[in-house]
């Protein structure tokens, strides 16, 4: 069963999927997804393990196709353009839709260079020092690293590394940032910092976050998409999509209710 939410709210759509299916060779991992992402809002994708949350997220900036044998059918509309149109360059897509990964993966370069690299490859011509500082400030990391910008990014703690990765994503000035369980490998205090940061970032960016932590989805997101394996096809699909408080207080699908109240999953 599909939930096609008629959007009557004011926020403008940034990403909209139309009958999106994602395959790994013959295996259909994600089936028939219709959902949208709204500008300057945080959209969470929740659901049990293995239901295709990460696959769906990675299809939003065509990171999926780096996996050999994967392909998508259907459309992902971004800025009025289908991202899967043959004319679209995936490099350009990833430039405008950035990504933060589950395990922090800073480059084995200096903290400064981690930020500067992305800007440089896209031909940034402004003052690099200023950009580095502003990205680190936006990622709430500046005060902790301002005296050691030449140290390796890998010398930082796990939570700091993840904030460095967020700062690095900001440096190329994307419109949307996709976050794949960005706090799942972190302790509660580092997690809290990341969550505060995400809240702060939504003023300027649109964020889609995958999480298996329902409290996290409830705390940070404005909209929530609930995914689950559909019984018929064994492929993941979005069974319910709505404002986060509705998903968590008055879900319309029994399976969503069971999941968010912790009866399984």
């Amino acid at each position: 069963m599909q939930q096609n939410i008629e959007t009557t709210e004011k926020p403008e759509l940034v990403i909209e999927t139309r009958n999106l299916n994602i395959f790994y060779n013959d295996f259909r991992a994600v089936s028939n997804v219709n959902m949208s992402v709204k500008r300057h809002r945080i959209t969470a994708i929740i659901g049990p393990s293995g239901c295709g949350k990460t696959t769906l997220l990675r299809s939003f900036n065509r990171m999926n196709e780096l996996v050999p044998g994967s392909h998508a059918e259907g459309e992902v509309i971004f800025d009025g353009q289908n991202l899967y149109d043959p004319m679209v360059d995936p490099v350009e897509v990833r430039y405008r839709i950035g990504m933060v990964f589950q395990i922090a993966n800073p480059f084995p370069k200096s903290i400064y260079e981690n930020i500067a690299w992305g800007a440089r490859i896209h031909g940034y011509r402004g003052r690099m020092d200023g950009l580095v500082e502003s990205c680190l400030r936006q990622a709430a990391l500046w005060d902790e690293v301002k005296d050691k910008l030449n140290q390796s990014g890998l010398a930082l703690s796990g939570g700091q590394q993840q904030r460095l990765c967020i700062a690095r994503a900001l440096a190329v000035q994307p419109e949307v940032i996709l976050m794949d369980e960005p706090a799942s490998a972190l302790d509660p205090i580092a997690t809290l910092k990341i969550e505060e940061l995400i809240q702060e970032l939504k003023k300027n960016y649109t964020i889609v976050i995958v999480t298996h932590n329902m409290q996290q989805a409830a705390r940070v997101s404005d909209y929530t998409a609930m995914m689950m394996l559909s019984d018929a096809q064994r492929a993941g699909t979005v069974i319910e999509y709505n404002e986060t408080n509705i998903i968590f207080t008055r879900p319309q699908d029994k399976r969503t209710e069971d999941y968010v109240t912790g009866r399984f999953g």
Partner: protein, 291 residues
């Protein structure tokens, strides 16, 4: 108990390789010392003179050293960029099908006997160079074609080791770069390559050692007879080529020629060692540690 036995066995195998190296250096050093104790040899002349003609009593090492360095440099000039380019292609661009097709070809290239390469240099590369650059520019025996063919020989070695190093770089680093809208080339050259530099340095070191020590190609194609020149299109004998030529046939024990071989062997050893140390220093400055 079992652990202790295994540990000592492993220690012994490690010790064995060190012992062998020490033994070789000792033997070379002992005989080289005999060389310098001979009345007609002076150390000063050996390290300053640019003439090596044993039959006239001239023992200046420079003509042999320069030709060794020139053939090696030509070889590395070919092998390093080409080998790295192929390694980057195989690790970052090639589909599994292209890889399974290309890797065996490279292995065949690495398995060709060096004597065959030597005659390939003499009967194919030399005429090619002569037809391009002119017969008066390129000698029949010349360092250039020996070096070029040596580069082809060393390339698969560098490719294979460099590809291992590139493939060992975690996928997550590539994803990070792609996720920022980096192209494949930017990712390969600016993220993966610097992270793999320590493994690539090992490939470079092995390549240089192979080039300096390579014998058959230079013996066949680079020219017979020491010649102090920096022109790669002239013929000049390398250290290894010289050892091969004079040690063939009836070399009597404790003659000058006999003792000079050991001195040259020791010299070769130190050239390789010096180049190894230099490459390691060089790489350490630029590598990016990802673990």
């Amino acid at each position: 108990m079992g652990e202790a036995i295994i540990q000592s066995l492993l220690f012994l195998s490690g010790f064995f390789s060190i012992f062998t190296t020490v033994g070789i250096v000792y033997e070379l050093g002992k005989e080289a010392l005999l060389f310098f104790q001979m009345p007609e040899i002076s150390l000063l002349e050996t390290v300053t003179s640019t003439r090596w003609q044993p039959h006239t009593g001239d023992f200046g090492i420079w003509p042999l050293v320069t030709s060794t360095l020139i053939t090696s440099a030509v070889a590395m000039l070919i092998a390093l960029p080409l080998g790295l380019a192929v390694a980057i292609y195989l690790s970052e661009y090639a589909t599994p099908r292209a890889r399974s097709f290309l890797k065996p070809i490279l292995e065949v290239l690495a398995g060709i006997p060096t004597i065959v390469y030597g005659y390939f240099a003499l009967s194919f590369m030399t005429p090619l160079l002569r037809s391009i650059l002119g017969r008066d520019v390129v000698d029949i025996y010349n360092m250039g074609s020996a070096g070029l063919v040596m580069g082809i020989l060393i390339m698969p070695l560098i490719t294979s080791m460099a590809e291992d190093a590139l493939s060992a770089v975690p996928r997550s680093l590539r994803e990070a770069a792609y996720g920022m809208g980096a192209t494949r080339l930017e990712t390969a050259l600016q993220v993966v390559l610097p992270a793999a530099l320590s493994g690539i340095s090992a490939a470079i070191i092995v390549g240089i050692s192979r080039a300096v020590g390579e014998t058959m190609i230079v013996a066949v194609a680079a020219g017979a007879g020491p010649n102090f020149t920096f022109n790669p299109f002239k013929g000049a004998e390398t250290i290894t080529g010289h050892i091969v030529r004079i040690s063939g046939g009836d070399l009597s024990y404790d003659s000058v020629d006999y003792n000079s071989i050991f001195f040259l062997g020791l010299l070769l050893f130190f050239i390789t060692l010096a180049l190894n140390i230099f490459s390691q220093r060089f790489v350490r400055r630029f590598r990016e540690v990802y673990e």
